[in-house]
Structure formats: structure tokens, C-alpha cells
Symmetry: C2
Subunit: 359 residues, 2 copies
């Protein structure tokens, strides 16, 4: 099986072992004579999948019992609205740290719901770094919202802000499950699955139970976190196939050795590419400031646009997929989520060296 060199930013590569396991059970899950997506969501077979996915998340991320684990739909983009709809109560302000376009979008949706406050921003620095030092919160802060990894700019929070009395909310769509985490430092974490967790179509929400009391009964049922907490994310039909694939990814992560091993592996992969950039005598220019560099998305540019185009063209010819930078910043981006094999990263670094030699 010849797997593509898939550096897509998301939807992204999935572990080959997960795809193989799903294929094995595709037409006949667990001798049921049915595919997973043909199972009733009220059946024992499906409920077991659902429960296992929750338990594996709890185990891998060491999520205390004081947190609910919910499965939703609509991606992080719907969470941009659900967070303020549920948590931004009268007279309070949603506080946001701006580290890129996704944080801006989250803020924009909160502005439709209530008062907001920008705690910090690195916008004037083209979002090349995480503004860790100067964050201020408003006196009436309902919560502080951050984006833990910024796919477009290739930046990532290395040390999270302390949540001293103010609930910390994190969009972790692009790095949940990629590194060790102290869940207790957060009050709400959300993540679309399509980077490290599974296919697109399922969103994971981890929420401190006490926070659930903030949601008004007047909220639309499907936009109230309590609906999912009360019904174990089975109020209506969940995206059963996506949750099954999420479960397989979590089993794979556990078998690999959990977050300690995964974090180390991701550090190694990122180092291979950042070394290729840093040892290129300025041929490759990293977009992110060194202390804010992401281990998920490595962004870089080349001496001029023509050489960049040539690089992307040549890379494509050699089978590398998804290396174009996001249309808003240009240049190149290599996304190296959990499922990306180390060998593929070595191949890219080798290609970068070879290309540099001839240009």
C-alpha cells in the first residue's frame, strides 16, 4: 500500500492502522451483519463504541470526573457561537486573546452575543508569536478564550495562562491529543476532530461540570451544552461513524504509548523540519518566532515568490500533498499531526535540502 505524503492542514492524514481496522469491520461490524453506520444509535453495539470513545478520551487526557466529555457537530466554528451563548452571561464580557484568524472569528461570534474584551493580540506582528506576557483581563470577565495552536501562522501556546478565577476556554482543534495537558487548568476545551482525532464531522467538548449551570433554558436545545451532558451526547442521532473512527484513533494513540510518547514523537518530527529551516542559511525562513513555533504546523517561506512557486511545484511532482501555505499568508506549510509518520517528515526534510542545493 503506497500511502500519500499527506501534509494537509485538515482534514489530514489518519493512522494507517486505523483505516485498516475500519476496513476490516466495514461490511460486518462485530459479526452483526451491519456496517457501523447501520447500527441504531440506541443499540448495545453502538453504545459500547460511544462509551469506549468517552473512556479513552478520559484515560488518555487524564480528564477528572468533574468534567463532562461531549460529542457535538458543526466543528469549532459552531463552538465560536456556543461558547458565548452558554457562558457569556448578562453584565459580563467574553475575553479573547487574538493569535490569528480563528481567534478573530471566535471573537466576532461573541460580539453578536454580548460584551467582549481583547485581552491581548499579536495581530500587528502578523501573528508571528503568542502574546503571553501582556494579557490583561477585564474586571467583568466571563471567561478568557485562547486558541492553543494556530494552523495558519504555525504558532502554538507553550505555557498556558493561569486561570485565576476566570474560566479558561481553549480552542484546541489543531493540537488536542498531540501533547500532555493538565486539564484542570482549563474550564472548557473544544476541538473539531479532523486534525488529530478523526474525520471531520464530530467535535469534542470537555467542560467543567460547574460551568454547565450558566446555560440558560431559553437556549435552542441543540446549542445548550446541558442537552449533551444530560443525554450523554445521545439526545438526537450523533454522527455514529465519525465517533467510531474517533474511537479507533484513540485506541491507536493508547497503543502507541499515550500522550508521553506522542508528544515526544511530535517534538522529534517538528525538530526535523525546523532544523532543515534553521540550517538553510536563510534559504528557508520560518514564519513564526522561534519561541512560539508550532509542533503541528511548520510554516516557512523562500527567498522570493518565484522560488516558492518552484518549490511547491517540484514538491507536488515528487508526491508531497498540501504544502501550500494558507491563502491568507502564502508561502509553505507542512502540517504534521499525530498520524504523520516520522519517515514522511524525513522525506520532506531531504527534499528541502535537495531543492536548496539546486536553487
Amino acid at each position: 500500500m503506497n500511502r500519500a505524503l499527506n501534509f494537509n492542514a485538515g482534514p489530514a492524514a489518519l493512522p494507517e492502522a486505523v483505516l485498516a481496522e475500519a476496513e476490516k469491520n466495514w461490511l460486518n461490524f462485530n459479526h452483526s451483519g451491519m456496517a457501523v453506520m447501520e447500527l441504531s444509535h440506541r443499540s448495545k453495539e453502538y453504545e459500547t463504541i460511544h462509551e469506549q470513545a468517552i473512556l479513552l478520551l478520559r484515560d488518555l487526557l487524564s480528564i477528572p470526573d468533574s468534567y463532562e466529555i461531549l460529542f457535538l457537530q458543526g466543528g469549532a466554528s459552531l463552538q465560536f457561537s456556543m461558547v458565548p451563548m452558554n457562558l457569556l452571561t448578562e453584565g459580563k464580557a467574553g475575553n479573547y486573546i487574538l493569535t490569528g484568524v480563528w481567534a478573530e472569528k471566535a471573537l466576532k461570534e461573541a460580539e453578536k452575543v454580548g460584551e467582549t474584551f481583547i485581552s491581548a493580540s499579536s495581530k500587528t506582528q502578523q501573528y508571528k508569536s503568542i502574546p503571553t506576557v501582556n494579557a490583561k483581563t477585564s474586571e467583568n470577565a466571563a471567561y478568557l478564550h485562547i486558541t492553543s495552536n494556530n494552523t495558519i501562522y504555525g504558532t502554538q501556546w507553550q505555557h498556558f495562562p493561569a486561570n485565576e478565577g476566570i474560566p479558561l476556554v481553549a480552542d484546541m482543534s489543531s493540537d488536542l491529543l498531540s501533547r500532555k495537558l493538565t486539564i484542570e487548568n482549563f474550564d472548557l476545551i473544544y476541538a473539531g476532530a479532523q486534525k488529530n482525532l478523526g474525520p471531520s464531522g464530530v467535535t469534542v467538548v470537555i467542560i467543567q461540570k460547574e460551568l454547565l449551570s450558566r446555560s440558560s433554558n431559553h437556549l435552542p436545545t441543540m446549542l445548550n451544552y446541558n442537552t449533551y451532558a444530560t443525554h450523554n451526547s445521545l439526545y438526537n442521532t450523533p454522527p455514529t461513524l465519525a465517533i467510531y473512527l474517533l474511537k479507533l484513533v484513540l485506541e491507536w494513540a493508547k497503543e502507541l504509548g499515550g500522550l508521553t510518547v506522542i508528544e515526544k514523537r511530535n517534538e522529534e518530527k517538528a525538530k526535523i523540519l525546523y532544523d532543515a529551516i534553521d540550517c538553510s542559511e536563510g534559504f528557508y525562513l520560518g514564519h513564526a518566532e522561534k519561541e512560539s513555533r508550532s509542533k503541528m504546523n511548520v510554516t516557512f517561506n523562500l527567498p522570493d515568490e518565484e522560488i516558492a512557486r518552484s518549490f511547491l511545484h517540484q514538491a507536488k511532482k515528487e508526491g508531497f500533498i498540501g504544502l501550500n501555505g494558507h491563502r491568507s499568508v502564502g508561502g509553505c506549510r507542512a502540517s504534521i499531526y499525530n498520524a504523520m509518520p516520522v519517515e514522511h517528515v524525513f522525506q520532506l526534510a531531504a527534499f528541502m535540502k535537495k531543492f536548496r542545493r539546486y536553487n
Copy 2:
């Protein structure tokens, strides 16, 4: 391959040919070296899938260009809120015809948004029929909402109300694509996919373009139909795998001969079971009034609870899946959506005859 006798109400059986086609391309879609869910949603490969799904829907359902076809997430349950959020403008009332629990839930969500009006209801008749005759609309009607097929009671609209000046909105989650339809008689149709269209995790919305002007800019981005219309349902990452499977189901439907053939096939299947009920000399009692009977969900009861339990127990032993009635009405229910093979329906009718003979 021994396929289960899957009479689940949804998620439900999918066509075996669709499962086989998906399996064939599972690890290596279109020689890309990637699974469908590993494709970027901005890639040509995925965009082709997405476009084909839209074109096939337009073709199969003869949807005029004056309608947009949108792919959303969150199921029909989220549409219960999105319909009034987008269409229920100030001073107007959302009109609802109540034909069961799902219609009640739709009404309940509309009540959170604005004024509502019950145009008709068969609640006092235990939802055994469709109240086609006595429907009245309020003078300030924003729209009239119906549920075209009622899975729990086994009733189905046979003749739709005329939309004279009032936009007609239909939840067709359980019968879209099961029969011929004049789209022009409706202004908004929505359907969760997991009955006749595909796996759970994608919702199809068909909306008259003029209706899009009603949505306020203040709506959350992901809850505004315009976001999907303007961005071809690619504003954020769509549930790509679910849409791919939807596309395969639509190709299968087209190959089968389209809605004329499918409708005839569904009529035949329903007749087999209703005949088994009607020729049982009162042993099997249909829940729905004859003129409101559903061709998707055949609901019936037995002489007493003990015999009903014995029927379900025996049926399960013989491999029939999902025959339990919904917990809110009890009894038995056989869901026979598009993908249900005629032979499986014959097998159930034969079992019903056999069981009756010995009880």
C-alpha cells in the same frame, strides 16, 4: 456476505452496493493514496465529490435553479431551531401542524424564538392520522411547518397542503428521496441523512433562494442559511466522509431508475406488510389510520402485551433487527427505507404469518 435483516428506524440499512463501493476506495480513493476523509476539503478530489452530490440531488429530485441545496450538520433537531431563527421575523408567527413528537419538538424550539400558531393537530387521536382537512393558518404566518413522515406513529402525508402565499417548510428526514416530489410546492425542505440518504452526520437543506433574504446578519454565522448558500456549504470543514457516502447513495438511487422506480418499490414493500396486517383477522393491528399509512415505517400491535413481547423475542431470535416500537408508543415497527431489500420484507411477512399461526 450475510446481511442482517435490518428494520432499524434510523440510522438504518444502507444499500449493499454503496458499502461495497466505499470499501473498494477506502484506503486509496481515486489512486490518491488517501482515504476520502484524508482529502483536504479544498482539494479538487473532494470538491468533485461535493459538487456531484449536489448535482445528483438536483437531478433526482428535479430541484429548480431557484433553490439552493445546502449541507449542514446537527441533524433535523438543529433545523428545528434554524428554521425559526432564519424565517420567523418580527411580528410574524411560525405555523405548525402537529403530527407527532418530532413536530412537537420543532414547535417547542420555535416558541423559544418567537410567536407560534398551531394550524392543526392530531394529538388527541394519538397521532394516528394526518390532519389534512382542518388546517388553518394565522393571518401573520411566517411559514407553515409540517413533518412529511412520522416515524414513531407510522403516518405520512399523502397530499401536501397548497402553499398559497405562505412558505411551506417540511421536515422530510424520514422520506426525502423515497417518492416523487414537486419541489416547487415547498419553500424549505430539510432532512437528516440517516434514513434514506446516507449515514448520520449530514443534513440536507433545500431552500427557495428568495427566502434567504429573511435571515438577519446578527445570526451566528453557522446558524445562518446564507453562510452555506454563499460558500457552497464549504465555509468551514464539512463532514466530508458523510457527504461522500451520501453521493454514493444518490448514484445508487439514480442507477436504480430514480424516484419513479424507488417510489414503486417502496409501495410494493409497504403493501406486503400492510397486507400481512390486514389479512390477519385482527391479530395484527395497524397503529395508523389506513389513509395516513406510512410507506417508510409500518407500525402495528398484537392482541396483548405478552404476545407482543413474545413476537419481538421470537423475531429477534430469527435475526430481525429493530422491530421494537418507539418507547413512547410501544408495540412493533418495521422501518423499510429505500435500502431495505424486498426479500427482507417478504421474510418479515412470512414470519408474521408463521407467528400468527402458532399463537
